[in-house]
Amino acid sequence: MMVWVLLAVCLPLLPVVLALHPALQRWQWRLLPLVSLPALGLVLLGPAQWQLGLPGLLLGANWQLDALRQPFLLLTALLWSFAGLYATGYVKRCRRSFALFWGLTLCGNLGLVLAADLVSFYAFFALMTFAGYGLVVHERTSAAFRAGRVYLVMAVLGEMALLAGLLLAAGTANSLLLADLSVAIAESPRADLIMVFLLVGFGVKAGLLLLHLWLPLAHPVAPTPASAVLSGAMIKAGLLGWLLTLPLGQTSQLVTGTVLVLIGMLASLGGALIGVCQRQSKAVLAYSSISQMGLMTLMLGVALAVPERTVWLLPVIGTFALHHALAKGALFLSVGIRMPNHRLARWLYWGVIAVPGLSLAGLPLTSGAHTKLAMKQALQVDGLVWSLAPWLGNLLTAGAMATLLLVLRFLWLQVRNTNRNESGPCMQMGWGLVLMASLLFPWFAPELPAAITTTLADHVTYWMALIWPMLVALFMAGMVVAIRLRAPEVPAGDLVVLLEDSVKKARGRSRVSVSIRIGGKRVEWLQKALVCRVQPAETGLRVHIAGSVLILALLFFLL
């Protein structure tokens, strides 16, 4: 077992090892899709629950797999494997570097899912974050560098907040096990502070509103497979972090929960709104991710505020994450696929591309529908004693509408996709596999608690409820196309642009160096003056030595 786990986590480091020797470097690239296979095997074939202690590692490492982690491990392994396959066809330049960072990031991502103690969790999280930079800036264009810079700044901020949160939490819990944290935090007098740190720390990765700035910048510029894993898997790491550390199921954290729900609402709608205004398909997808993560944030907020719902919500969040990862992964990968020239084939492709998108919007019979339904069940109003409860239903409806609009926007942009690059069999296969996984999702989705499993009747009512928002959305889209309304241009990365401007203005030449120079001159002058004064005095003393004797003798006499 241990060997298997270690292999699963460490095999992604193979490109790093191979990089050490020139003779082995060509293997780096060829083995890229294979490095995540042990992890995939682990989640598919291995036991569903296990625990592994590695006392010699770090400050005493502890890894485990449980029901909460399983969907995350699954989505991570799946997405990375297929995207890796896709990447072997997609990436043309700097392959070795790509393989290196790919492996490192993957290692971090897998490891953090499995980590059960704070330190290894944080270690893998940091590894993923920093190695991810390599993926973001892979194209080495100035846009990539700009996105990378924003990514890095945000990531560092996040890491620091995270470190603070974890330190405080560990100090409170007096334990390094993640499992011990939630109780301790809930009981701690500094619970709010810790939670804020953790929310912010993971929020950067999870694309929490206001901390999402890097997402729409990074996704369009990163290579497509990298965008897929960024948006599909890595973004979920933040979510997982929240789930593992926040005091879920303990005492009610009403304020935090409410704030989170509000942020989630805002994100899910606002993200969609800004996303519609984007000009790049990947940027649209990025905002869609923000929007979707908003929904997950919302659920988390509910879980925090209403602890009794945690039991229901956690599996739902897991399911949602898995669904979103696969669907979004498929969408991202489709960006790099070249449309066949044949008209029919192109329409077929179109249809296939649209499915995951519509799934996101909750198209019946898709994973989206499955998830949305489960979510609705979990958030059902009866029994949810909470001020915001009545709004949730409407929100979900609005969310679905917004998502659909986004998807339409994406498809619209895809139509104009002038991608002329050859998409080789590897890409096709990778894309296809993700797509398939996404479509097959309802069949291997994790089991939900009995209380919120859905019946057919639920499905039907759900569909009914879905029809009209979808229609409205389609109508709006149609209108837009018909009157050739141009969407207002909102630069990707929205707030970042404002920030960058202000930073530029603030940067002026400091005057410190000037004053230092003046100071130096003064010192020199003083030195010169001292030298000039001392030497004649010395000569005087030399000449008047007898006089000095006289004066001294008198002085002594008088004393």
Partner: protein, 232 residues
């Protein structure tokens, strides 16, 4: 020290010092010294080998002082001759052919030598002694030099150097001999005191005379100049 104010200030200060010194002398003169050295001296004079107390102090009780004093003289002489011209002591300015002077000299020199001898001898029991005799010798030499006599034995050379240290060397040897004999340094054996002191005095006289004379005769400068260290 050019400004008159400073001069007057210094003068006042010097006056003050003088006054303080005088006051101190005055105050001290009121005191009776606790130890009575003259009486001790008187008690031990008999054992010193000479009758005159000053000579006894000089050459016996505090002979070490005297030994070093001669050393100081030798040093001065060395410093003097180290700057001497080596070729010849001929000084054309001093050459004279005044026969009257020569004749006078012929009388004076033996007389002065005799006087020197007397001073040396008298030192044992009355004022006199090696230094006075040596000074007399030197005066003789000066006189001879001024009349243009060459005095070639004063040319810096081994002879002169031997002459310079002769008295000192004997003094030293006596000191060493006494130490070797088992007593302390410079303690003359009781039985030879007088003879030893006399012979030391005699040689000292010669040396002192030579030293003083050498300073007069040989001190003129040479033209050789050595560059300062490191400034070649």
């Amino acid at each position: 020290m050019r400004s008159p104010a400073a001069r007057i200030g210094m003068l006042l200060l010097a006056l003050m010092l003088t006054a303080l010194l005088g006051r101190s002398v005055w105050q001290l003169s009121m005191l009776e010294p606790a130890s009575d050295l003259p009486r001790q001296l008187q008690d031990k004079l008999a054992a010193s080998g000479v009758e005159h107390p000053v000579t006894a102090v000089l050459l016996n009780f505090r002979s070490y002082d005297t030994l070093l004093e001669i050393a100081v003289l030798v040093i001065a002489a060395m410093a003097g001759i180290s700057m001497a011209r080596t070729r010849s002591l001929e000084d054309p300015e001093l050459r004279t052919s005044d026969t009257l002077l020569r004749a006078l000299l012929r009388w004076l020199v033996p007389l002065m030598l005799l006087l020197a001898g007397y001073l040396l001898w008298a030192g044992a029991d009355r004022p006199g002694g090696a230094f006075q005799a040596g000074a007399m010798l030197a005066a003789t030499g000066v006189l001879m030099r001024l009349t243009g006599l060459p005095l070639d034995f004063l040319r810096p050379g081994i002879l002169l150097r031997i002459g310079l240290v002769l008295g000192f060397a004997l003094f030293l040897l006596v000191g060493l001999a006494s130490a070797i004999a088992g007593d302390v340094f410079l303690a003359y054996p009781r039985e030879f005191v007088k003879g030893l002191i006399l012979s030391i005095e005699t040689l000292l006289t010669l040396s002192i005379g030579m030293i003083l004379l050498a300073l007069f005769v040989a001190a003129p400068v040479n033209d050789a100049s050595e560059p300062e260290e490191g400034e070649k």
